[in-house]
């Protein structure tokens, strides 16, 4: 079994913010929005969904934070957010991109890390373990993998190559 780290203080703070929100239904709606390059991880679980504020019945503002400066997914994510909220009756959706505080991997939820693992991606952790066989004997093939947020690794025991979501 792979070890999944406990809740980080950063994620606990996000969870508290969401729990105290006056518009829990909008957060729930956004649980249907996934990162286009990590199809099983929602924007909430990935930590890029920063805040949701409802102005009135027809109007809300969503704040997101990009993983990397050049992340090409952020435009698609914004469109997906607008379309999800439009679909649940909120007509006017403003998506703001915030850089500060900068996104980091401590913001990822335990569910997000588990979802990565289920897809064969090693989640960010102190040691990079093979998502297939759990071995700790792994080595880096390339510091960049299929996207900017991942590095390419190889398991020295089962010999499978795999993506590692970089600790950042």
């Amino acid at each position: 079994m792979q070890h999944i780290s406990l809740v980080t203080p950063e994620f606990a703070a996000r969870r508290a913010l969401r729990a105290n929100s006056t518009c829990p239904q909008l957060w729930s709606t956004l649980d249907s929005v996934f990162d286009p390059e990590l199809p099983h991880v929602t924007i909430w679980d990935l930590g890029i969904l920063v805040d949701v504020q409802q102005q009135d019945e027809k109007r809300c503002k969503v704040t997101v934070s990009p993983t990397y400066s050049g992340c090409p997914a952020i435009d698609v994510i914004s469109e997906d957010i607008v379309s999800a909220l439009n679909g649940s009756g909120v007509e006017h959706v403003e998506v703001a991109v915030s850089l500060s505080p900068a996104w980091n991997t401590d913001l990822i939820s335990p569910a997000g890390k588990a979802a990565m693992l289920s897809q064969g991606i090693a989640p960010p952790d102190k040691s990079v373990n093979c998502p297939q066989c759990g071995s700790e004997h792994t080595s880096v093939i390339s510091q960049f993998g299929s996207t900017a947020c991942k590095a390419l690794y190889r398991c020295n025991d089962c010999l499978e190559p795999f993506d590692y979501f970089k600790e950042f």
Partner: protein
Amino acid sequence: MNKITNSALYSYLLGMADDALILGQRTSEWCSRGPFLEEDIALSNVALDYIGRARMFYQYAAEVEGLGRTEDDLAYFRDERDFSNLLINELPNFDFAFSIVRQYFLDVHACLYLAQLTSSTDQRLSAVACKAIKESRYHLKRSQTWVLQLGQGSDESQRRMQSAIDELWGYTPELFIMTESETALLAQGIAVNREDLLQDWTKSVMADMKNSNLQIPDQQWKVIGGREGEHSEHLGHLLSQMQILQRSYPGLTW
């Protein structure tokens, strides 16, 4: 903000944006031409980080300018003489060694520069720096590893690395020259004093060179002028390729 600060901030932001865009565009030329697949992807990802950085600076510059121009206008509809990037960014890739040495010199510089910029009194610049410095530290890990590997590698890789260093060395002094805008913004805690970074930069580079069996040349020549729009013959070609679609079909979108 008063008018003088505003115009200084605009040219400062434009310089930073042009540096990032031109290096990003240049590095993206490796896409599909990398020496092997993983390296191809790595180079493309580094390029992408720079394009992202350029966008943040251009968006800010466009707002400061306040004439209704957008980030795309600034990237696609300015001519060669209006670009104020430092010359090292526009030099062609030549070979893999050249691109790696350039990236390494710039990564060491970016890590020092952005560390200072994180405490800028301008909150937006500080936020951009907090984001970008993590990327640059990651870039440096990679470029530094390559410098060591290729410097200590075969006779051929060592020769190519040394020749890249000899060629690029004269373009590094420009990284430490303050513009008038930067000096004005430094007084207000907005910009970073480039001159202060030279000592640490040289120390880091010399240590890595020593470990890599590579020499820093003792030549005294330097090439400057990028910030004033005086460029090498290479920038025009880069711009023509980058700008042709928007120039031919203004307003074109994907």
